[in-house]
């Protein structure tokens, strides 16, 4: 609570007028505060056709100042297409496959507020968006259908076709939202390490993503898979949380699988012998929960293409299942709706090719007056369809509550 107050109520007239304007902007959680990116001088809407050009464009760029970066997201569909998989059977919502922006202003919210900008004095148009909900949330997959998919995937696990697979369900309602209010409200309950918000003219995304998929600085690359989440309660401390994870067979084996998968994804793009588990199976504490994480590190092959890094690491394994290709094929045949941003990736690429990307989960996408919230949970043989179905609701709950 104190934390949240520190950032949100740090009153700054410039920031307030920015919030109240219709200027597109992005807020991204950083280690010791938040960065706000705005005054976009370029906006690239990604398609299968221009994505190679997008990656190549960084070869010619020079990094001089902090605003020299592209920030945005890759949708799930685009990432599947990049590794040669098609999602033909799915109903499409025609939302963008990916968008990246070039900011001219960065506002850093820390203990004080620092503005890095050429365009600070650009005139802002006031336009306040009230949240309006015009229909209740509905799920795209009802329990009987979920159970059918669950049983089908369970069979596939027995047959060795997949070792682990996640089914995505969606909640949707008709609504307009004020994403800035939603975001700060969400940060009050869950200031997750990879939280972000995008507000553009025709859509917005509000997310409390927890997982860092790529953190690249120079030739060093880190990934930090999460497998295992525990809600905080009285009497539970970090030590006890670690004990819980270590003694829980289901969490442990899921975690093991993700760690080996991420090691392999990194090995594809790193120098032999450099991929190492940097910190194994530890607990990270957040305001309302504990995460069971492992930090894996590698050193990139010289002159590797950005595209190869993205292709190897995305879509992030921990939200798909394993092995990636076969599991994605199974998923794409069973899920009848486009995942849109869900299990895509948000982050930035600096002009010096350093980058940071997350896995988009626990997110609201508001587009054309509809909000959608996706959640996924894993099919594992020692679980039940009912339990995992309810798990999806628990995961979506803090986002659904924002509409109340």
């Amino acid at each position: 609570m104190k934390d949240y107050k520190k950032y949100k109520f740090k009153f700054n007239p410039y920031l307030e007028s920015l919030y109240q304007s219709d200027e597109p902007l992005i807020i991204y959680k950083v280690e010791n505060g938040y960065n706000i990116y705005t005054h976009f001088s370029k906006k690239i809407i990604l398609t299968n056709r221009n994505i190679n050009k997008f990656f190549k464009s960084f070869n010619k760029k020079k990094y001089n100042k902090e605003t020299d970066l592209m920030i945005g997201f890759f949708g799930y569909d685009l990432l599947c297409n990049l590794i040669g998989l098609k999602t033909v059977n799915q109903k499409k919502s025609n939302f963008y496959k990916g968008i990246f922006y070039k900011p001219e202003t960065i506002i850093k919210i820390r203990d004080n507020i620092k503005i890095v900008s050429k365009l600070k004095h650009k005139k802002l148009k006031i336009s306040f968006q009230k949240t309006q909900v015009s229909s209740p949330f509905k799920m795209n997959i009802k329990f009987p259908k979920y159970q059918k998919i669950f049983d089908y995937f369970s069979r596939k696990i027995r047959q060795g076709e997949t070792y682990q697979i996640k089914i995505c369900t969606k909640y949707r309602n008709k609504s307009k939202i004020n994403p800035i209010n939603f975001f700060w409200k969400l940060m009050k309950v869950n200031a997750s390490p990879e939280a972000f918000m995008i507000r553009d003219k025709d859509y917005s995304i509000v997310s409390c993503s927890p997982e860092t998929l790529i953190n690249k600085k120079g030739s060093n690359i880190f990934t930090k898979p999460i497998a295992g989440t525990l809600k905080k309660n009285n009497g539970l401390d970090k030590k006890k949380a670690l004990k819980f994870f270590k003694n829980n067979i289901k969490e442990t084996k899921e975690h093991n699988m993700i760690v080996d998968m991420e090691r392999s994804d990194l090995s594809k793009i790193c120098k032999p012998g450099t991929v190492k588990i940097f910190k194994k199976k530890f607990v990270e504490e957040y305001k309302h929960l504990y995460h069971y994480v492992t930090l894996v590190k590698g050193q990139l092959i010289n002159k590797i293409d950005l595209k190869d890094i993205i292709k190897s690491m995305m879509p992030g394994g921990s939200v798909i299942g394993c092995p990636k290709i076969r599991t994605l094929e199974l998923l794409n045949n069973q899920e009848n709706e486009d995942r849109n941003i869900y299990t895509g990736s948000f982050g930035f690429i600096k002009y010096n090719k350093d980058m940071r990307f997350n896995i988009i989960i626990r997110s609201i996408l508001n587009y054309k007056n509809f909000s959608e919230i996706s959640a996924a949970s894993g099919v594992v043989l020692d679980s039940t369809a009912k339990k995992e179905f309810n798990e999806n609701y628990i995961k979506a709950k803090s986002l659904l509550e924002l509409y109340k």
């Binding site: 093991n256 080996d260 392999s264 076969r326």
Partner: protein, 185 residues
């Protein structure tokens, strides 16, 4: 040179990096094999992967072609592929092992590892070899110390080796030692 045939697994590059500690490694998809490079390799590694051996007739063909001519090492699915081509039956098991660490014990049939030596290993498999399994050339050389499920095979005459577990997994202790032994044999 070692040729790793990838069955589109998410662990294959761990295998590649492990073998790169000992030799040059080339890796390609099972449906996209470069026969020129394959012909000039001394060792073929059949990677882990989803599904069952019968789903990969291309790999079976390569196995039959090169059996006795090159060293062949199979891991998980690759191990099952070797057995499948040696008239072994690969079946579903009751308990599924994905992401487990188990102890395996060397049987008295091994010519490479010391009898009764145990290793802690990582397992990712739904299927297993049905027993009894009889073969003139292949011997079962490691077993799970708890369930007795076959975990490794050797045919030292033809230089064919297989592991049901994953020597490349971080769950396997001494994985490099196991691979080094096989490669130097």
């Amino acid at each position: 040179m070692i040729y790793v045939i990838d069955h589109q697994d998410s662990f294959t590059w761990n295998v590649v990096h492990q073998f790169r500690k000992f030799d040059k490694v080339y890796c390609s998809n099972y449906f996209n094999v470069d026969y020129k490079i394959l012909n000039s390799s001394e060792t073929i590694v059949l990677s882990p992967g989803p599904g069952a051996p019968k789903d990969y007739p291309q790999t079976s063909k390569i196995y039959k072609n090169f059996k006795g001519k090159k060293k062949i090492i199979g891991i998980c699915l690759g191990y099952q592929q070797i057995l499948h081509n040696e008239k072994g039956k690969i079946i579903q098991q009751k308990n599924i092992y994905h992401g487990y660490q188990s102890k395996v014990k060397v049987t008295n049939k091994s010519k490479i590892f010391k009898k009764n030596k145990t290793f802690k290993v990582g397992r990712y498999h739904s299927l297993k070899l049905r027993e009894p399994f009889n073969s003139n050339s292949l011997s079962i050389t490691m077993r799970c110390s708890k369930t007795n499920i076959p975990m490794a095979i050797e045919d030292t005459k033809n230089k064919i080796y297989g592991f049901q577990f994953h020597p490349e997994s971080f769950l396997t202790e001494n994985g490099d030692f196991i691979i080094k032994k096989i490669l130097s044999n």
